[in-house]
Every structure is written in structure tokens, then in C-alpha cells.
């Protein structure tokens, strides 16, 4: 019996020694931990491939991707109006097994089937920039467009007075953003009975067209006392045209966004004030919340579903304030 016990003991000791050696090899480095995490893939589908605004969205998304350890793929159609391209991209992203989609929808209603498709396949969608007409998304981070419209109106009154004619150049008639901004603007101005609002005209996101509309407006019988552009291209078109006038300083221009060209018009004072959105934050929050959706395994958030990202008013004086500098000039 003694021998048997001794034999078993020796075998056990050898076995354990072997195990210890094996484990010893796997003992991790004290500081760096080579943890294998499952890769999380997020598709970032934007309205347009190019443009500083979207590049900034992408920058924010990349910062979030790094922070939360997700892989972000950047997709967008060539044209902003190409909602069909977006539908195709959403479907492809779902089919390819992305864990979540961050979407800047180019249309309020037409993307619904694609969102249904994602919902059916249990792929959470986080909306940024604009809304859609369905509830089948996780969360949304949109520019507070109505508020932005109101702010435009307020600035216009401050610049030009309460007894004015207002010229509005919008961009695409069906755009949710355009509709909300104009609504906010018009409802604010409705509070002033002596304010006359000229019929809204559309630049179709084309600078040249916006310039031509501006020229047209300024040569009307009663030219507008203040010109308001509802997006970057419209504002730039207005500024370009206004700067040609010797009395450009007398024509208040209020607009949207801060493209490099707009900044020069802001610095020179052609554009008096611009409302700046926060694409960086939207990109960041979009990816951050996509990660949250994946982790919580929900397709629709329980609370804080819709967040409106506030806008900032910039002008020649506060352009280079530290808090605006980063917003307007994302790091190169």
C-alpha cells in the first residue's frame, strides 16, 4: 500500500510540475496585457464623401474608435442627395455583418426600408446630423436645427433691426435640416410684425447658384436688408456675391458653418455671423453610442434617445478664442 501511495504521489507531483510549467509560459507580462478582444466593426455612413464637415465627423469618429476600441469603416455616396446610395450602403453593411451603423441620413422618409432592414437583422443604428421618420434607431445626435434657425433670426434682428426684409437661401427642399432651420427662423421672425420674409430660394448646395440667387435678390425692387444662408454652400455663395458690392459692409450676411472660405469672409466681415455645428462631437458621440448599443444589445435606447447637439455662433471677434478654435479648426 505504501508503494502505491508513493507511486500516485510521484505521478501527481510530475503532473503538477508539468502544469505549472505550462501555466508559467502563459503568465502575462505585468504591465502590458495582450488581451484578445473580439473586434467590433462599425459602419459610418455619411451623406457625402467629401467636405470638411464630413471629414470632421470622421475625425470625431476616429477619436471615439480609438477610445472604445472599435473599427470604423467610412462610407458615403458622392452626392449628398443620393439617398439610394445610402440605402444600398446600409443594406450592404447589414449583410456584411457590421455590429452597428452610424448614419447621417440624407432623407427623412426614404431611408425607412433600409432602417427596417437593419432593425430586422438586429443591427443597431445611431443617427447623427439628421433625423429619420421612424423609431427604429438606437439614438440620435442631431444639430438642434430649429434652435439654430431661431438663433439666425435673432442675429438678423440684432444686425439689421426690426423693420426689415429678410432673404433666405436654403439648399434642398426635402432636407429635414433645411426644413427645421427655416421653421425655427420663420417662427422667430413671426414675432416681429414689421419683418418681411421673401420667398425662400434653393441653391441645391451649389455655390454658383447661390451667388446667382443673391445677385437676383439684391437687384430686386426692394432688396433684402439681411441675407441668410441655411447651409455652408448657400452662405458661401451669398458671401461671394455680396463681397463684390462696394457697400458690402451695409449688407448683413448670416449663415451656417465654417468652411475655410467662409472663415476668410468671416474674418473680413462679409459674413457677420455664422452658426457652427459640432460635427466632431456628432462623429464622436455616434461611434461612442454605437459601442454602447452593441454592449447593451439593444436596438432602441430606453432613455436619452434623442439628443440635440448645440450650435455655436461665431464671428470675426471670437473666431480664435480657444474654445472656438478647436471647433472650427480641427487638428490637421
Amino acid at each position: 500500500m505504501n508503494r502505491r501511495v508513493m507511486f500516485v504521489g510521484i505521478m501527481a507531483a510530475l503532473l503538477v510540475l508539468g502544469m505549472l510549467m505550462l501555466i508559467n509560459i502563459n503568465v502575462p507580462d505585468t504591465v502590458v496585457e495582450p488581451e484578445e478582444r473580439p473586434i467590433v466593426n462599425v459602419a459610418l455612413i455619411l451623406k457625402m464623401k467629401h467636405g470638411e464637415y464630413w471629414e470632421t465627423v470622421n475625425m470625431g469618429a476616429e477619436i471615439a474608435a480609438k477610445e472604445f476600441g472599435v473599427d470604423v469603416d467610412y462610407l458615403a455616396p458622392e452626392e449628398e442627395s443620393d439617398y439610394k446610395g445610402q440605402i444600398e450602403m446600409i443594406r450592404t453593411a447589414v449583410d456584411r455583418g457590421y455590429d452597428a451603423i452610424v448614419l447621417a441620413p440624407s432623407d427623412l422618409l426614404l431611408l425607412e426600408p433600409a432602417l427596417d432592414y437593419a432593425y430586422e437583422h438586429k443591427v443597431p443604428v445611431v443617427l447623427i446630423d439628421s433625423m429619420v421618420g421612424t423609431w427604429k434607431y438606437y439614438k440620435s445626435f442631431t444639430t438642434n436645427n430649429y434652435d439654430a434657425g431661431e438663433r439666425l433670426g435673432k442675429i438678423a434682428i440684432e444686425l439689421a433691426g426690426e423693420d426689415i426684409k429678410v432673404g433666405i437661401i436654403s439648399f434642398v427642399s426635402g432636407s429635414e435640416n433645411a426644413i427645421e432651420r427655416e421653421k425655427g427662423l420663420r417662427e422667430y421672425l413671426a414675432g416681429y410684425e414689421n419683418v418681411v420674409i421673401r420667398d425662400t430660394m434653393y441653391s441645391m448646395s451649389d455655390v454658383e447658384l447661390a451667388s446667382q440667387i443673391t445677385d437676383f435678390m439684391l437687384n430686386e425692387l426692394r432688396p433684402p436688408d439681411v441675407l441668410i444662408g441655411l447651409n455652408a454652400t448657400s452662405t458661401l455663395g451669398i458671401a461671394k456675391e455680396v463681397s463684390k458690392y462696394y457697400d458690402w459692409e451695409q449688407i448683413p450676411v448670416v449663415g451656417f458653418d465654417s468652411t475655410p472660405q467662409e472663415i476668410e469672409y468671416l474674418e473680413s466681415g462679409v459674413i457677420d455671423n455664422a452658426i457652427v455645428q459640432n460635427p466632431f462631437n456628432m462623429g464622436y458621440l455616434g461611434v461612442a453610442q454605437a459601442k454602447e448599443a452593441i454592449d447593451s444589445q439593444r436596438l432602441v435606447a430606453v432613455e436619452n434617445k434623442d439628443t440635440q447637439v448645440d450650435t455655436v455662433i461665431i464671428n470675426a471677434d471670437n473666431l480664435y478664442d480657444p474654445e472656438n478654435e478647436k471647433l472650427i479648426f480641427p487638428f490637421n
Binding site: 501511495v5 504591465v31 496585457e33 476600441g69 472663415i263 458621440l285 490637421n332
Partner: protein, 588 residues
């Protein structure tokens, strides 16, 4: 505790206690060591982390310092370059700067301004904006008032030039140059692409989530990789404890409640503090792995050591258990048990002592037995020697009487019988004689008694001739016959008769002595053979002692299976049956 008993282990047993003590010591010590190791590891890894962090931040600072020092050296060269001309020679300066710019992509512009803010020279063909006003720029005013000191700005957007809004840090210093025979003052500006510094900062890794950020001497954030998020309030960088420190590490809880180690290191040339944040959660995974490893090692270790301890306990306690078994055998009376126990010295000694003790007890017991036997034997011899003197006087009286009365024939007969009787009695000291001799002894005795009692009785022998050669203890018939005569026949009025028989039945040699005398009650008969007779007075013994003696002698010699049986009836007679083993002797 019932289950333990079921396995045959006694809770109070040596083995159980020993094994349990071993196990307890092992478990406690391993737990202690494991715990200590784990704590030490956590502590060490935190210290390592802190040191690591410190080293990384120092490295960043060194790189930053090298870069800025290079820039300062460059600005020194440019100052010399600008000073060397009697008249500021812009084309020549331009050549030098062009050569420089070709190798240095990180320099975005080199410009020279008058103290009034007028641009004298720009090295990279940038067009200044009409709206630009350097007098309002902080780097410009610092250089003017700084009296030749080198000023390095925080990162900012350079907004002097058309169509370009790069993030730069600006080196500015007052510079003298000669123009139109007079020495003028101006400001030299070098814009360095901030992305170079950004890369310096971002190329280091501080765990998975860690990062480096920069504060100025007023603890404003100069650079942070999530600066936009901080400004818009999406994120918050908690600076508790950072503001009052300039160097060193400390543990802080960030705005999300995560613990992190912040390491602060001041930068040279600029009034910046580099702050490295390392999240402790990056450590916990490694810690968890180690803790698991330690737990596993402990479990396995305990398993092995407890098995070994059980084995050891068995080895130690087994000889003791063997000892116990042997003792139990001795307890049952088996004094031949000898313990052969292998094991520890003490146990072996114990076994040896026990063996010695058993042997001693055994020899003592043997001594007692032999002494007893010797005593018996001496008693026996004494008895055998005790051929009743009264019998001898009486017989000799009878001989004298017969001689006086001239009965010569009778005298010869009696004396002959007496001589024979004694010869057989003595029988050369032998204890065992043949049946023939025994019967002859009995007959001689009867002959003498018959003559003495004047033919008051008759006797006859009914002997199976085949038994004559058998062995028998001597002098077993005479006492019985004596008894029959004295107690059975002597008081009889009628003539008595004694019959002596000898035969073999079932391997047993049987003698029968039957008389037709007075007989006795069964009670009396059984009393005759009762033991513990010895304390009785001599007078009482007279009758019984002979029979009793025969009985004892037979039993002593042949065992309890043999002995004497007495059948008697009052007024009818008595029959005494003696049985001994039938063994053939070699008597001549």
C-alpha cells in the same frame, strides 16, 4: 462526524489528528503565502506602472525638449544670418531659408516683422491676409516686450495667411537687423507644425486607455486629444490634484469614477506640464490572471501536500496500529505473539519492550505452572510413600499373632503377600506400571486383609487377559479397595464380597471395584469426589482422601476426560469405576 467513523477513522485518533494538523498547516501556510504574493504583486505592478508612466512622460519631455532645442538653435542661426548683413539682404536670406525649408517640412513659415507689425519677409511664399494684424497676436507682443528672450507660444491656429489655418506653435524673438545704415529691431517668427508635437505625444502608449495631455502654468489645457469634446462639455478632464503639483505621480479618480495614475512632468523651454494618465483598469486584467494562477497553484499544491501528509501520517501511525493489534492478541492470552514492527525508532523500541515484557510474562507463567506441578508431584510422592503405618502394624500384629498360635502356613502366606505388596508399591520408583502388576498389588493387599479380617469377605478378579500388558498409574486400585473394606464390608454382619474387574472398552481401560457392603447415599458418594476437600479435618479425610487422591492423580496425568465414577446404594453395595486411557506398555 458520523461519516468519518464510517470510514473507520477515529476522530480522536492519532492518525486523524495528525493528518488534520498537517492539512491545516498546509492550507494556512499556502493561503498566507498566496495572499502575500498577490498583494506584493499588486503593489509591485502599481509601482512599476508608476515608474513606467514616469519614464514614458520623461521620454516625451526629452523628445519635446530636443525638438524645441533644435528650433531654438535654428532661430539662433537665423538671427546670426540676419545680423551678418550690413544691409538686410533678403534674397540671400531667402536662399538660406529655402535650403532649410527643403529639409524641414515641420516648419510652416519663417517670417520677419518690424516692431510696427509690418511684414518684412516671409520664407514660404504665403500671402498674408489683409485683415491680419500681428500687433494683436500674443506671440508678437511677448517677443517685443521680452527683450530678446525666446518665446514659444501654446498651440494655436495661425491665421495670418490666406487659405491656410494650420495648428502651430510659434517661436518668436526680438531680432536686430541693419537697414539703411541704421540698426532696426524686428520680430522673427517661426511656425512649427503642431502635428509634430502631437505625434510625439500620441506615439506613446500608456496602457490601453491611457494618454498624455499638456497644461500651461495656469493649468489650462494646452493640448488634449479630446479637446473639442472637453470644450463642448461632452467630456471632462478632472484636474484635481494636478494644479498644485509640478512633478510626480499620484492616484486620482477621473470624472467617470475610474482610478488612474497621473504622472506630471514639467517641460523645459515652455511653461508646460506634461501629464500622463494611466488607467488602473488596464492592470486589473493582468492582476486577475495572476490571482487565478496563484489560486490554481495553491489548490494543486494543497492537493499534493495533503496527499503527501496523509501518506506520511499513514507511515507514522501504521506501526502503532500494528502494535495495537499485537497487544490485543496478547490480551486474549496468546503469549506467543511476537511483534515485528518496522518504522520509527520510538515505535520499534516500544515493540521491542513489549516483546520483552510478553516474554517475561510468559516465562513467569511457565514458572508458576511448573512450581505447581512440582508441588503436586511432591504431594503425590508423599502419598505414595504413605503406605499406611497402621496397616503395617496391624499386619505385623496379625503375623505375630498367627506365629504364636503356630499357624506357620498363614504366617508364610501373609508375609509373602506383604513383601510383594511393598515391592510393587515401590516398583523401583516408577510411576507407571503394568496392569498385571497393579492387579497383583491389589490381590496381595486383599490377601493380607482377608487374613486379618478372618475371612469376613471373599474377593474375586474378573480380568480380561488382554489388558494385563497395558500401562496404568500405580496404586490406583488399593485405595479404592481399602475404602470398600473399611467403609463397606467391615461393619457387615454377612460375608462380604469384593469383585475387581479390568477390561478395555472403547480404547478406555476400565477398572471396577464392586462390593456388596453397606453402600452409601448418592449424596455422600458425590461428596467423596468433591474438590476443595483439602481444608477438611484429618478425621473426615480418612475415608475420602484415598479415593480423592486417586481421582486427582488420574486427572492430573491423563486429563479431565478420565477419572472415577462411584455408584452406590445403601444396603446394596458400591461400585467404583476407574477409567484411564488404554496404552500398551513394554513390560517384561
Amino acid at each position: 462526524m458520523k461519516w468519518i467513523k464510517r470510514f473507520g477513522i477515529r476522530v480522536t485518533g492519532f492518525r486523524f489528528i495528525l493528518a488534520m494538523s498537517f492539512a491545516a498547516v498546509i492550507v494556512l501556510s499556502m493561503t498566507f503565502v498566496g495572499f502575500a504574493l498577490n498583494q506584493k504583486f499588486i503593489q509591485t505592478s502599481r509601482e512599476n506602472l508608476s515608474e513606467n508612466s514616469q519614464e514614458i512622460i520623461e521620454q516625451v519631455e526629452r523628445n519635446l525638449d530636443n525638438y524645441l532645442k533644435g528650433m531654438i538653435d535654428l532661430s539662433n542661426l537665423l538671427v546670426i544670418d540676419i545680423n551678418k548683413f550690413k544691409q538686410l539682404n533678403l534674397p540671400e536670406l531667402d536662399r538660406d531659408i529655402e535650403t532649410l525649408m527643403r529639409t524641414r517640412t515641420d516648419i510652416l513659415s519663417i517670417s520677419l516683422f518690424t516692431t510696427e507689425g509690418k511684414l518684412l519677409y516671409e520664407g514660404t511664399n504665403l500671402r498674408m491676409k489683409n485683415t491680419a494684424d500681428v500687433l494683436e497676436e500674443q506671440w508678437f507682443t511677448s517677443a517685443i516686450t521680452g527683450d530678446g528672450d525666446i518665446h514659444i507660444s501654446p498651440p494655436h491656429v495661425q491665421n495670418l495667411f490666406k487659405n491656410r489655418h494650420p495648428w502651430v506653435i510659434t517661436l518668436s524673438r526680438k531680432v536686430n537687423f541693419r537697414m539703411n545704415q541704421s540698426t532696426e529691431e524686428g520680430v522673427l517668427m517661426i511656425d512649427m507644425n503642431f502635428s509634430v508635437i502631437e505625434d510625439l505625444i500620441n506615439e506613446v502608449t500608456l496602457g490601453k486607455r491611457g494618454y498624455v495631455f499638456i497644461l500651461d502654468d495656469d493649468n489650462n489645457i494646452v493640448y488634449h486629444h479630446q479637446q473639442q469634446l472637453l470644450y463642448s462639455g461632452v467630456k471632462e478632464e478632472k484636474l484635481d490634484g494636478v494644479s498644485e503639483r509640478f512633478l510626480g505621480s499620484f492616484v486620482q479618480t477621473d470624472s467617470n469614477g475610474d482610478s488612474r495614475i497621473l504622472t506630471i512632468y514639467p517641460a523645459r523651454h515652455v511653461n508646460w506640464k506634461l501629464v500622463g494618465a494611466y488607467y488602473l483598469s488596464d492592470l486589473t486584467a493582468a492582476q486577475r490572471d495572476l490571482t487565478q494562477f496563484i489560486l490554481l497553484t495553491m489548490a494543486i499544491g494543497m492537493l499534493i501536500f495533503i496527499s503527501v501528509s496523509i501518506y506520511m501520517t499513514d507511515r507514522i501511525t501504521k506501526p502503532i496500529a500494528e502494535l495495537e493489534d499485537s497487544m490485543r492478541a496478547v490480551e486474549r492470552g496468546d503469549f506467543n505473539t511476537q511483534i515485528d514492527v518496522q518504522g520509527e525508532y520510538e515505535v520499534v523500541q516500544l515493540a521491542r519492550r513489549f516483546n520483552l515484557m510478553t516474554m517475561r510474562i510468559k516465562s513467569l507463567m511457565g514458572q508458576v505452572v511448573s512450581e505447581q506441578e512440582a508441588k503436586r508431584k511432591s504431594e503425590l510422592s508423599a502419598l505414595q510413600a504413605q503406605i499406611n503405618p497402621h496397616f503395617l502394624y496391624n499386619t505385623l500384629d496379625s503375623v505375630i499373632w498367627m506365629a504364636e498360635s503356630g499357624k506357620h502356613q498363614e504366617v508364610v502366606k501373609m508375609v509373602t503377600a506383604l513383601a510383594r505388596l511393598f515391592r510393587i508399591s515401590i516398583s523401583r520408583g516408577r510411576n507407571i506400571i503394568s496392569v498385571k502388576e497393579e492387579l497383583a498389588h491389589a490381590e496381595n493387599y486383599l490377601t493380607i486383609q482377608k487374613m486379618r479380617y478372618k475371612d469376613q469377605f471373599e474377593y474375586n478378579f474378573e480380568v480380561d487377559a488382554s489388558v494385563l500388558g497395558f500401562n496404568t498409574q500405580k496404586l490406583i486400585l488399593q485405595p479404592i479397595i481399602e475404602n470398600a473394606i473399611y467403609h463397606g464390608i467391615r461393619q457387615m454382619v454377612d460375608e462380604g464380597e469384593i469383585t475387581i474387574r479390568a477390561f478395555v472398552r472403547d480404547e478406555v481401560l476400565v477398572f471396577e471395584v464392586e462390593d456388596n457392603g453397606l453402600g452409601m447415599t448418592t449424596e455422600t458418594a458425590s461428596k467423596l469426589l468433591e474438590k476443595h476437600h483439602e481444608g477438611a479435618p484429618e478425621s473426615v479425610r480418612v475415608g475420602g482422601v484415598g479415593v480423592m487422591n486417586v481421582y486427582e492423580r488420574i486427572q492430573l496425568m491423563y486429563g479431565e476426560a478420565y477419572g472415577i465414577k462411584i455408584e452406590s446404594e445403601v444396603e446394596e453395595g458400591t461400585k467404583v469405576t476407574i477409567s484411564i486411557p488404554a496404552t500398551k506398555g513394554d513390560h517384561s
